[in-house]
Subunit: 480 residues, 2 copies
């Protein structure tokens, strides 16, 4: 029995992908009650015909809604409206016209390590935001915000850092920022005079270099090996260039190679930094996404309290991909210098958002979501690792990362850039080593951010990757 065709109200000129406009239209109909829980949707072929679009487009729309929990698939029976609303929807809510971007989002991509927005506490965030915006104290004008960040958030973060990773601090040593980017810019502004040099890992994190340069600093690369930043190479650089006044490291999950710096090297790094009197900027991104081994404490947890160490973290991946919230911890006079620099470019953060985040930390929402996300991300990591071994075998080499949302895939004997271009033509976007190189020879590798892809998409992506391998005889490698 075929169901009547849907009279979907699709945006006339969607600027984003069409499949998302169709998905939005279906959810609108569900929320308005035009499609009831348990109702059967038309088959993809007939809906495609009715809408005048390709069947793949309808299929992509259905897939998206299945993943989000709006629809349920019953094998051999069809696709149905879910009987329970997905996590986050309590009942009829007016759905806006699709908030589309002007660029078409790629359908399949390994990011640089972005999280899955469905793993985030959207409903709790919206609830906490509402409370904050309507709170009597806020309406009375007592809590418009603070350059250093809402005190309630700095207090919540203080507890969080202590219990989550042994970093003992107090609210007076914290500065809440607009994400990691701003924290790094302010750190460089505080630690360096224009023209001074900051040593960075190479390959490394180009957005950090942008922030440092915007602060007037010069960036100098220090090689990375299988243990992270080479402290021996750093020592040689410090000895020969007296303009180096700061060092930027990602010791927990080196960006981009994902390696973790071991305990012995961490100690040598701290001693070196102290001996030369330079500022250390530790970026502990993805700390929460650790999958195995003992927890690794940050450098900030073991450094002495007056060492000029600026510890930077981000909450964006825990809260929402579209929201930038980060923090920096630093001793004086660095922190006050950072706060003053912040005020000059941005008076303060958005107080209701900061208060909402404090609520989510205090209520345990953030922790719960992080644990759930961790389980799912670890599973996806394993799916990726297995698929790479199966479909690419000895064409690539990698270590399964102990944490973080990306895998560093080395490709011996072929140029990663060439491979990436061919994969792009086949519908898969990914980031080759040139994206992370400062000067030295480009690493022959990819950084595969897998977290936002479900299992089916990971498998499909690896298939495309395998099928577009530029080495040897291509026809030997059939798509699996």
């Amino acid at each position: 029995m075929s169901s009547p065709p849907l009279a979907l109200d699709i945006e006339k000129d969607p600027r984003g992908p069409l499949f998302l406009a169709i998905a939005e239209a279906i959810t609108r109909d569900i929320l308005r009650g035009r499609l009831s829980p348990g109702a059967r949707l038309p088959g993809t072929r007939s809906l495609a015909r009715a809408l005048g679009v390709h069947r793949n487009t309808v299929n992509a729309a259905y897939q998206e809604l299945l993943t989000q929990g709006w629809l349920q698939a019953e094998p051999a029976r069809g696709t149905f409206v879910a009987r329970d609303f997905p996590e986050g929807m309590e009942g009829p809510v007016a759905v806006p016209v699709a908030a589309v971007t002007e660029e078409v989002a790629p359908l399949l991509a390994f990011t640089d390590g972005a999280p899955d927005p469905r793993m985030m506490p959207g409903k709790a965030l919206a609830r906490a935001f509402r409370r904050a915006v309507l709170s009597p104290a806020f309406l009375a004008g007592a809590d418009y915000g603070d350059t250093r960040g809402a005190p309630v958030l700095r207090r919540a973060l203080t507890s969080y850092l202590a219990s989550d990773r042994g970093v003992v601090t107090d609210p007076g040593r914290l500065l809440i920022t607009r994400g990691c980017q701003m924290a790094l810019f302010l750190a460089a502004k505080a630690a360096l005079k224009p023209g001074q040099v900051i040593a960075v890992e190479e390959p490394g994190y180009p957005l950090a270099w942008e922030a440092f340069r915007a602060a007037g600093a010069t960036v100098r690369g220090i090689p990375v090996d299988e243990g992270g930043l080479s402290v021996a190479a750093l020592e040689r650089a410090l000895d020969e260039d007296s303009r180096i006044e700061a060092v930027y490291v990602t010791p927990h999950h080196q960006y981009p190679t994902t390696v973790t710096m071991g305990a012995a090297r961490r100690l040598r790094l701290l001693e070196l930094v102290e001996r030369h009197g330079v500022t250390l900027i530790e970026d502990d991104y993805d700390h929460e996404y650790r999958f195995e081994g003992r927890p690794v404490l940050p450098l900030a947890a073991r450094a002495s309290a007056d060492l000029p160490l600026i510890y930077v973290g981000s909450l964006s991946k825990l809260l929402s991909p579209g929201i930038r919230l980060g923090y920096a911890m630093a001793p004086e006079p660095l922190l006050s210098a950072m706060a003053a620099a912040r005020a000059a470019i941005d008076r303060q953060g958005d107080a209701p958002l900061e208060a909402a985040l404090a609520d989510l930390i205090g209520d345990g929402d953030l922790g719960r979501h992080a644990r759930k996300a961790r389980r799912i991300y670890r599973a996806r990591r394993d799916v990726l690792a297995a698929a790479l071994r199966e479909h690419l075998g000895e064409r690539v080499a990698f270590e399964t990362p102990a944490g973080g949302l990306a895998l560093w895939l080395r490709c011996e004997g072929v140029a990663a850039e060439t491979w990436a271009a061919r994969a792009g033509e086949a519908g898969l976007t990914l980031l080759p080593g040139s994206c992370f190189a400062l000067q030295r020879p480009v690493p022959p590798a990819f950084r595969l951010g897998y977290a936002a892809l479900d299992e089916a998409r990971i498998l499909r992506a690896v298939e495309i990757l395998a099928g577009s391998w530029p080495g040897g005889k291509r026809d030997q490698l059939e798509l699996g």
Copy 2:
């Protein structure tokens, strides 16, 4: 008949004013149902005794809740829980522990022109934010945000600017920023090389000078007269200092003197700027708060499209005092330079907030609230003007401002700083001329931001001001 004492759950160690902690506790009880609509509250004396606080503190808490609509006063009968929830509260909502600041908020203050948070669409904002955070497109990762600001917001702003003030542009010429502060910083980064000079009004807006200096520019003051920036003085400065490459003006409501630049002078300013090939930065803050006269079109509405004019506006006062959202409109190559500078310090704005704001503009919520606020602010302006005339007479001089949320009060013959210090001791905070001076002699005046004060508070503030006048014989001026 006395009502039973309230068993209020007041935060043990509130870091903010105690009266607000008490107010928060009362609203919590209302929302939890412990206090029913229509229930009579204890008298201030008995509640004060029960809580062990001063009666004034309880009175201040009741006053706050009366103003916000939680309570209703019935003369000779007492104070009661309102039967309708105030605008913004639909039903039981968990109220967080008071989001208090670490500084005690002054009880009575003229700000520099801050709005009244109760005039803002908090409920609509919360609703729109929730929709944005839970939208399928957002969850699918299609709309994480954009360095230039969510396209949906840039489109909404384009319509808004055209219909509201005759500024014709397109989304590609707009950059959404974290409020005016960031817009001004980015404008200076784009328009000036380090060491170049920007001419500013004097007296003027010190936070703008901070932003310009953070961008590496030097600030030079140009005198302001009763018609705004003196274009004759600007011309002399441009002729003598070739390092001046930009000019910053607030022509609609000069900050801090509130005067509006007339049509003839605007034309001369545009000609001068074009002749010298410098960039003009027009800050049109408080455009929406115009009370009389014909609408004044911005310079940006009449300048030719390729003139290097950066038009800056803020949405913070319309949306929420704790949220920083602003925008800049500029031609190329300025806009791309500003966008690149933005990305280096802050990848992007918070996409759900930007989408929510676009909704509020598109749904007409923002316009409705602005119109309602305008009516209330104009009434408060009139109350202030009348009270100043009545209580201070010839001790002061002012023109009733045609728009904006502040009044410029000149005080002949006494030092404004002395007067402000004495008013502060008497419980009133206000901003004397020294707050706005760059170098020249400090203007003998105050900038009285009145918008966040209700009528009773305005009257009380003027009484305190009158009572603390430092000139002549003090005992001649009794508190009214």
